[in-house]
């Protein structure tokens, strides 16, 4: 959380809406621990991460609607070993994230 605060502060100071995705559940080996966070600004800025890179793109897309309507989402990603290999990762686990809009 602390690592992404400077970016969030900067975005808020510029009057931008910000969404934050938090890892709330992991199954099997996952590259980022519970409570890991990724922040997304309405201008498309990204800070932090919620995986080793395999789901950030998908979470970023989902964050757009959260930024727009402010309704939080709970998302679940199964990362099959095959997919994991395809993007060069070895997660092979399952990750759930909560995406919410913060500060407005």
């Amino acid at each position: 959380m602390l690592d992404i605060l400077p970016d969030i502060d900067r975005w808020h100071a510029a009057g931008m809406k910000v969404a934050v995705a938090t890892v709330i559940r992991t199954v099997g080996s996952s590259p980022r621990p519970l409570g890991s966070r990724m922040a997304v600004s309405e201008a498309g800025g990204i800070a932090g991460s919620v995986s080793g890179g395999c789901i950030e793109g998908a979470v970023f897309e989902e964050a757009q609607s959260v930024l727009e309507d402010g309704r939080p989402k709970r998302l679940r990603y199964g990362i099959s070993d095959e997919q994991a290999w395809a993007v060069g990762l070895t997660c092979g686990g399952e990750v759930e994230v909560l995406v919410e809009r913060i500060g407005g």
Binding site: R25, L34, K73, L98
Partner: protein, 239 residues
């Protein structure tokens, strides 16, 4: 959603437990400050809020993760203060150690009584630089459970009294630089000063994981690696 309060508390180094509904009331949040019992927000149900507050003020604090509380699915997250590292001795190794430690998430403070070493020019990257007798300084600052102390001065007049202060305070980690012979002398002096063998035995010496390096930056890396091992409870910490 309590984000601003959480942000301020984290920056102030306070302990906070955050409860976030992960079910139908998705995103509803209650923050509880275990040290004074204060709370903010709601999980939209007074019974649930009470059950959560009880969890947040128990010892030990709840582990981070999803759990069921009073029939609701809640993501519980415990925020502890940022680990702080006191480096006693504004020596060459310390310059590199500040780099590594800050990168690894330690709030890093350098303390030395010798103003020739403890200069802003040498330590522009430290969170704080203190020119004072280490024992005096460490006696008056809060040494919380997440405090790490590294002694690098090579000067027993500076090191030993301060070592006594942090050992008695029960900080998370104490390490001291020096050969086996130096450490033997240190142990004898600390015994002389009345410290118990159990406390003295908590000192990590020789300091750092054995990476085989002798250069200042390599020693700093070995120390940083040991701090991470201790923070993570790894067997590599040797304890």
């Amino acid at each position: 959603m309590g984000f601003e309060s959480l942000r301020q508390s984290l920056l102030a180094g306070e302990r906070v437990v955050a409860f976030t509904r992960a079910d139908a009331e998705l995103g509803a949040r209650l923050l509880v400050w275990p040290d004074d019992g204060r709370s903010e927000g709601t999980l939209t149900d007074p019974d649930l809020d009470r059950a959560a507050a009880a969890l947040a003020t128990a010892d030990p604090l709840p582990a981070t993760g999803l759990r069921e509380i009073a029939g609701a699915e809640v993501f519980v997250e415990t925020f502890e203060p940022l680990p702080q590292l006191f480096i006693v001795g504004a020596v060459h190794v310390a310059i590199h150690l500040v780099h590594f430690a800050r990168r690894l998430g330690f709030r890093t403070v350098v303390v030395d009584a010798r103003s020739a070493f403890a200069t802003a020019e040498r330590f522009p990257h430290a969170d704080e630089l203190v020119v004072e007798w280490p024992a005096d300084y460490l006696s008056r600052v809060p040494l919380h459970v997440n405090t790490f102390c590294v002694f690098l001065t090579h000067d027993e007049k500076l090191d030993n009294p301060a070592l006594g202060v942090v050992l008695e305070a029960g900080v998370r980690y104490v390490g001291a630089l020096g050969s086996k012979r130096t450490h033997g002398k240190r142990v004898a002096a600390l015994r002389e000063a009345g410290l118990s063998p159990e406390l003295i035995d908590r000192i990590h010496a020789p300091i750092g994981l054995d990476l085989g390096g002798r250069k200042p930056e390599e020693i700093a890396l070995a120390i940083a690696a040991e701090l991470v091992a201790v923070r993570n409870g790894s067997a590599a910490s040797g304890r």
